[in-house]
């Protein structure tokens, strides 16, 4: 049972493209051969690198509860790999990917990652989604010195030499959002809500500190719900009683649908100005399930929205839809997942080697100005410098950007004074 899902490298329908690439490769071979560095130079640690190919791993849940969320990340990573291959690959080598299914089960993630690193000897892994799955694979990546590109925005409080975090850590997302809502909406009272696990709790802790100590404003309530909670009427009544200016919601999964539907049914109209709802947990992906009508008017603080108006993003969205269907919806995490293979390619080329130690070294300070979200840079703490944007949800399920931080937000996974 080692390879239920392994080696789905280029799907059969795209065979002709491979032929085309092959033909192009043959034509170029005379000139390209000289430029491709020898395998024993670029790979001194026994990774799966040959003269014309390099193997990487994709490790997400394709089955189980998390499949809903992780599907977009898998698609983005495959798209990026195909695009890189079409451009000639990395150091003259085509990227082949081994896809493993974490099955929404943390021990399975650990086992699969061990297989990818020990058996397949992949040069890098793009994967994981929940913090729990990342924590499960972390010791394995550190033991075997693997490289993981992790796409999800998360609670911070972590900095591993074997992980590049392509999503935002908590402070990047939270501080900009709260500053904006205090300044633009004149908000004075906040009500914090969240699903009951580490990410919302840590995030709300940071939010509360920032609201009370930095902004000097008031938190009038804080409430947590078990994962999968579907009945929010009592909570909504509590919110009515406290009359906050801002509802700060970090609810995840199926609960989101219930929460926003019941909020609307209870007559709390987010399109009007008497209450502002700010979330950091609802991307365009989630809105598909919630329904644009129900969440219209809510604000979200993230680094990426599908509607971003720049040439990089235009090309990305078009390519994504061409590859995965016109109806595809791209959320923050999907874009962050897309950055993974590109950042790895850039690091490998800068290092001139696939060796993990050299890739890690080369990653620090790496710049990418082709990212759909715009310019990003890798901080020495392995997180990305990135802008934070505030978007307002429309009935069509898309966010319109209403604010963008002027500067890149510095990633600060261990924020002092916020713990």
């Amino acid at each position: 049972m080692t390879s239920r899902h392994s080696r789905i490298s280029p799907p059969p329908a795209r065979g002709w493209q491979r032929l085309k690439a092959l033909a192009a490769g043959l034509m170029l071979s005379a000139s390209a051969q000289a430029a491709v560095p020898a395998t024993d130079e670029v790979n001194t640690t026994g990774l799966a690198v040959t003269d014309d190919a390099v193997q990487v791993g994709i490790l997400h849940s394709v089955t189980g509860t998390m499949a809903i969320s992780e599907a977009g990340s898998v698609q983005a990573e495959i798209l990026a790999i195909e695009q890189i291959n079409a451009m000639g690959g990395v150091l003259g080598r085509q990227i082949e990917y081994v896809q493993e299914d974490g099955a929404s089960d943390w021990p399975t993630f650990a086992e699969r990652s061990r297989k990818l690193l020990r058996q397949d000897n992949v040069a890098a892994v793009f994967g994981c989604w929940t913090s729990a799955s990342r924590k499960a694979v972390l010791p394995i990546f550190e033991q075997y010195n693997g490289m993981l590109y992790y796409p999800t925005f998360y609670e911070g409080l972590e900095q591993s030499p074997n992980v590049i975090y392509t999503g935002q850590e908590a402070t990047q997302q939270i501080l900009a959002g709260l500053d904006w809502v205090a300044r633009e909406k004149g908000a004075e009272t906040f009500y914090l809500l969240g699903s009951d696990y580490i990410w919302p709790r840590t995030s709300n802790k940071i939010a509360r500190k920032h609201i009370e100590d930095v902004l000097g404003l008031e938190v009038v309530g804080e409430d947590y719900f078990p994962l999968g909670h579907t009945q929010f009427n009592s909570a909504i009544n509590r919110i009515r009683l406290k009359k906050p200016d801002v509802i700060y919601a970090i609810i995840v999964g199926g609960s989101n649908v219930a929460f926003y539907r019941q909020l609307e049914a209870a007559g709390i109209d987010l399109t009007e100005d008497d209450v502002t709802l700010l979330t950091i947990s609802v991307t365009e992906d989630e809105i598909l399930g919630i329904g644009g009508d129900n969440i219209e008017g809510a604000y979200a603080a993230m680094k990426y929205f599908q509607s971003l108006d720049n040439a990089n993003n235009q090309a990305f969205v078009d390519a994504f839809k061409a590859r995965w269907g016109e109806d595809s919806v791209i959320g923050d995490v999907t874009q962050a997942a897309y950055l993974g293979p590109w950042l790895w390619k850039a690091a490998v080329e800068k290092a001139g080697s696939f060796d993990v130690d050299r890739v890690r070294e080369a990653s620090i300070g790496l710049e990418l100005d082709t990212a759909p979200e715009g310019y990003v840079r890798v901080h020495e703490n392995h997180h990305l410098w990135s802008r934070t944007r505030i978007g307002r949800a429309g009935a069509d399920g898309q966010y319109q950007v209403v604010h963008e931080t002027a500067e890149l937000m510095e990633p600060d996974p261990f924020p002092e004074g916020y713990q």
Partner: protein, 307 residues
């Protein structure tokens, strides 16, 4: 809490009372189907949530069909969807009983495992057919929004609808069980299976229909819950724990027990939630239920049956 006027407080408490009633209806609706199957047949149906989600998906398909082919009638599609959801879940239930459950009677632990496996199979089937993402079910306009009773008191229309539906389904089941010939047969089979068989009741047929009825009601519940919750391959899992809680607490084999237990748990939970918040309310409710079950292991209402 002191800078509120009396009328505001009254309004909040009125709405809070209503929130408790909505929760009661939701619990009742999800537990009824399971109560029938568990109570009457002793089968622990772990796939109950998946039967509910089948109903939800049928509702999703119906809404799409109406939007496509009969947009003029869209406002009324929900009623058609509920009927179709009932039929689809009942049919699947019948098939499952015929192909699997009937070989496992008298082996409660095996049915538990088998239906749990079934729930995994169904989840993955939904995932393959409808995609891993949740689908957004479009609710007709008249079912969204709220109904203003006074200036401040606003009651969610979807909540009122679920309440009416829950009461209706419960009454229908009660009538069926206690006033119809078939219900009489079901009760006879529950009380003494060999004797019921001896007087000419086709117990296999009664079992199949009972199972189908339970699943069908799960389908109705799933259909109604598209208004308040998510519809995804594993959304059924969100309801299963509460459902079992209600049924076990009420006492198996007792319709009245299920109603009473749904009422008790929902009121406790919604009141505690208002004062203590979501997670704490759940913990306390579970603790109280465990304590009561320690004193009364058979649940609130238990049917006296000769074993």
């Amino acid at each position: 809490m002191f800078d509120y006027s009396m009328s505001e407080l009254t309004a909040i408490f009125a709405m809070q009372g209503f929130a408790g009633l909505i929760l009661f209806s939701v619990f009742l609706l999800m537990a009824l189907g399971l109560a029938i199957i568990f109570g009457q047949m002793g089968v622990i149906n772990m796939a109950h949530g998946e039967f509910m989600i089948l109903g939800a998906y049928v509702t999703y398909l119906t809404s799409n069909l109406f939007a496509e082919y009969a947009p003029g009638l869209f406002d009324g599609y929900f009623f058609v969807a509920i009927v179709l959801a009932f039929l689809a879940s009942a049919l699947l239930g019948m098939l499952v009983e015929w192909s699997m459950i009937r070989f496992l009677y008298q082996r409660p632990l095996d049915t538990l495992l088998a239906t749990w496996g079934l729930s995994l199979v169904l989840q993955q089937a939904y995932r393959s057919i409808f995609g891993a993402r949740e689908v957004g079910v479009v609710i007709p306009d008249w079912l969204t929004g709220s109904y203003p009773v006074t200036d401040i008191v606003e009651l969610p229309v979807s909540g009122i609808f679920v309440m009416v539906l829950a009461v209706g389904v419960t009454l229908a089941v009660a009538l069926l069980m206690f006033r119809s010939r078939w219900g009489c047969q079901v009760r006879a089979v529950v009380q003494n299976r060999p004797m019921a068989g001896a007087v000419g009741i086709n117990t296999a047929r009664v079992d199949r229909l009972t199972f189908a009825l339970g699943c069908g009601i799960a389908g109705i519940a799933g259909s109604a819950f598209t208004m308040i919750g998510s519809t995804g391959p594993s959304s059924g899992q969100l309801y299963i724990v509460d459902t079992f809680l209600v049924v076990v607490f009420g006492g198996a084999a007792s319709l009245l027990g299920t109603v009473a237990s749904a009422f008790g748990i929902s009121q406790a939970q919604s009141t505690l939630e208002f004062f203590l918040g979501g997670s704490m309310a759940k913990v306390l409710t579970l603790m109280v239920v465990v304590l009561i079950l320690m004193v009364r292991p058979q649940g609130l209402f238990a049917l006296k049956v000769r074993r």
